[in-house]
Symmetry: C2
Subunit: 347 residues, 2 copies
């Protein structure tokens, strides 16, 4: 059923990271770009560089892109520049790659203040240094007043994937343990609180952070890592659903095990939002074979980006393709893929 | 002198590809991104991939990015999708690279018509097939109505640079011949005519085209190629000035030798524009040692993208850093770097 066609116009919800986003990609973008495109159009791809070395197979290169349109561009704990670097670093890291080089495309609205541009650039510089990536190329376009919303930033990144690392949302195995690297919902609520001018604002800060060094720690354990993903747009619920459908497994999540800041929990309650659907920008979800899970958990907890890491669930061959939440009160409910618009322009 | 600081706000002219664009990059963007950034922030970079092969030096990878904000998005001879693929293919080709993989970032305004999106995507598909590149990853963001102008597209590309190719705007030698692959100003005037609804519209079409196969022909000659560039924003004048200042040579250009469509010439006259400053999207300028110039010119003329190629000038050790135009009427004038706003949102 081509739900997409019913609207015939792009809706905000098409950018939400949920079902409508997927429909836009699957029913319009992929068929449109067609055979010239890859089989999927994720924000990241693994390229095998043939004929580049003395080896039968060349090195594997990860290549990713993301556009950032967050509003407001400055929010508690960061700004659009932090997101643009950390997001691309994390996309690469989630493929098992070591991020190396980043390009930056700026679309700036006429009249944008130079000092705000400078602040965003400074953040990019700091985050690039922190993550150990080099910004190697850039492009700047300016559009008339009213034709963009201050500044949009597109970043692309490349990195090499060390031999032996093979992670994908389609590789989960029944029995896998699902771990999350810390509290959920912080980024989305930080942006939203700033946007709405809510009084809980000062308590909540974005978790935007580069995760590549945490990923190295995880692989360092030698455990069997099957999948890695940063739960950004669509939140933890979207990532877990992508894992379940991508791998044909069921996932059972223990709600009480999922780390959550009390301030984020309160803000979600107040606004009627479910933190499972709120974006994160400095967290990862890892699916690891049962035998290595404890080791990975400890490695994460010993890392600055993983202090509050927790084992939150298990993959199984039951209820394949579905994520089930064991709630705090003892019941069970399906944790569905987010549908329409959750929180637009959160990244 | 920090002219940039005087305005303290971004002006349209900062996106024009001329002096103010350069100032924005040199005085704000580079200092802002700082030591994490490369020494320059061109839209393309060459990366030496160390430790990737059985060779002391790994393969050289070109990595580029560009954002497209052209208005209107459909114009005679193409649309924003054509530009986004051809532009990135050409950025790679101008580094001597063989374009391989492209990523696409879409920022779409809420309410944008699906059939227009589909038309732009179809163009991207066709151009990718034509150039032999694979679109491997993508990202889509949607912003509220009035917060963007229909659609902006960011593309990044990577390609391998075959051994022995060493081209740069800083490598021109006195005695080099400067060749252009065809008529100038077509793209800019096609977009402008569409925008202004001018009556000469039907005569002028954008030259948007992938130039990678033409570049292969040029290298195939074995001639000593020093510099390659596609004269986009800022036109032929900007490219020649970048060559002159980058290499510390003077360039003398014969105005009568520069190919120009009569319709473009008439439109420029009518609007008081100088075709040397108008953007091209399917032309290249090559600086080649005198001995190989004739061979390269013939190779270009035998290629579909170079039928009207011409030798237009010479590099010398005189008037270093300056481009001088030998005019049709016999005089000489300096062909300066474009200053402020020429034609905004031409690409």
């Amino acid at each position: 059923m081509k739900l997409m066609k019913k609207s015939e116009r792009i809706l905000l919800a098409h950018g939400s990271g949920g079902k409508l986003s997927r429909q836009l990609v699957e029913e319009v973008i992929l068929p449109g770009i067609g055979v010239a495109g890859a089989v999927n159009l994720d924000d990241a791809a693994v390229l095998q560089l043939h004929g580049m070395a003395g080896r039968a197979k060349g090195p594997r290169l990860a290549f990713t892109t993301d556009s950032y349109v967050v509003s407001p561009i400055f929010f508690p704990g960061g700004n659009i520049g932090d997101l643009a670097i950390n997001g691309t670093v994390n996309d690469l890291a989630m493929m098992g790659a070591r991020p190396g080089f980043v390009t930056v495309g700026l679309v700036i609205e006429e009249g944008f203040a130079l000092d705000e541009l400078e602040a965003a650039l400074l953040s990019m510089r700091k985050r690039a240094l922190e993550a150990g990536v080099t910004i190697v190329a850039g492009d700047t376009k300016v559009v008339e007043r009213g034709k963009a919303d201050r500044i949009f930033i597109s970043t692309s990144g490349i990195g090499l994937i060390p031999d032996g690392r093979e992670v994908s949302g389609s590789l989960l195995q029944p029995g896998d343990r699902i771990l999350v690297s810390g509290t959920i919902g912080d980024h989305g609520m930080a942006v939203l609180s700033q946007r709405e001018g809510l009084e809980f604002r000062s308590d909540i800060v974005s978790d935007s952070a580069p995760l590549n060094s945490l990923v190295e720690e995880i692989f360092e354990t030698g455990a069997e890592i099957h999948a890695l993903r940063d739960p950004t747009r669509g939140g933890l619920a979207a990532t877990l659903n992508e894992f379940a459908t991508g791998s044909g497994v069921g996932i059972l999540v223990e709600e009480s095990a999922v780390p959550l800041e009390p301030s984020v929990s309160r803000a979600c309650d107040l606004l009627g939002l479910d933190p499972f659907y709120v974006a994160n920008e400095g967290k990862l979800v890892v699916s690891v074979s049962e035998t290595g899970a404890e080791q990975v958990l400890q490695a994460m907890q010993g890392h600055p980006q993983g202090g509050r890491a927790a084992a939150i669930g298990t993959a199984s061959s039951d209820h394949s393709g579905t994520v089930i939440l064991q709630t705090r009160v003892g019941g069970k409910r399906i944790l569905d893929m987010p549908t329409g618009e959750q929180l637009p322009r959160i990244c």
